[in-house]
Symmetry: C2
Subunit: 150 residues, 2 copies
């Protein structure tokens, strides 16, 4: 393997694993020690502003609605999420974050922005463009080669 490829691969794998580990331990130690990474991502997918249906959120998370049902059961019990039936169409359930859920969302958001700030610290504008370009190329490659467009 070419040296640069090896360096970049190692970096990407490390970053990947570190982020997973950090999300776990940061949650365990922090204010929301009763949330798993999966639960945090569910909260992220529900989002801050509009109530969303079970189907929408399950699609975003790429899990079945059945799986989401059990996840939401737990998040409701823990006080992060609220469920309500839609009166216009009583088959539909909308879920939204409680105050506590929104707080968790914001803290997780900050975790993300802190990371990005660290990544771009000391880069000038041209450097930033190159970073965006290379990551875009990777993202496009992944979507093209693996037909990930929804």
């Amino acid at each position: 393997m070419k040296k640069l490829t090896k360096v970049l691969n190692t970096l990407m794998v490390e970053i990947f694993n570190d982020i997973l580990t950090i999300e776990q331990t940061a949650l365990k130690k922090g204010h929301f020690s009763d949330l798993s990474v999966t639960e945090m991502h569910t909260i992220e997918a529900i989002g801050m502003y509009h109530p969303r249906t079970m189907s929408e959120v399950a699609l975003d998370l790429k899990i079945t609605v059945g799986t989401l049902t059990t996840a939401i059961n737990r998040l409701v019990k823990k006080g992060y999420v609220e469920r309500k039936r839609v009166e216009d169409d009583r088959r539909v359930v909308k879920i939204q974050l409680t105050k506590k859920g929104k707080l968790a969302y914001r803290i997780h958001e900050k975790f993300h922005t802190d990371m990005i700030h660290a990544m771009i610290e000391g880069l000038n504008v041209e450097d930033e463009e190159i970073l965006v370009k290379s990551l875009s190329q990777l993202s496009n490659y992944l979507k093209k080669h693996y037909h990930l467009n929804e």
Copy 2:
């Protein structure tokens, strides 16, 4: 949130999720449809060349040895891994990849190098350096701020 931060954050999250999804579906569709992502990572951690102990591999994967035992049971049953007792110290079990395991390892390795090649396609040497620099900064930040050094 600053625009650049938002763009980079979105890119990173997308790449993160896409890679997870791709690993899953690529495995399912490919030659090794009986391997989960977790199992593939276990194969990766065992490595191509030297037999390794249960404790070593569990440490690398950041899982308990008990969890690894059940994972290895399945991989042995499926023919990817071999176990052997060490004669000098009969408490120790060394695990190594079978021929089939090594083939899986190489295919997964190629998946990684293909991705990296896509990421750096069209970049010149200075661009590459900036990419390495920014990813290194991110990696260092993660390790420093979260005490991840083993």
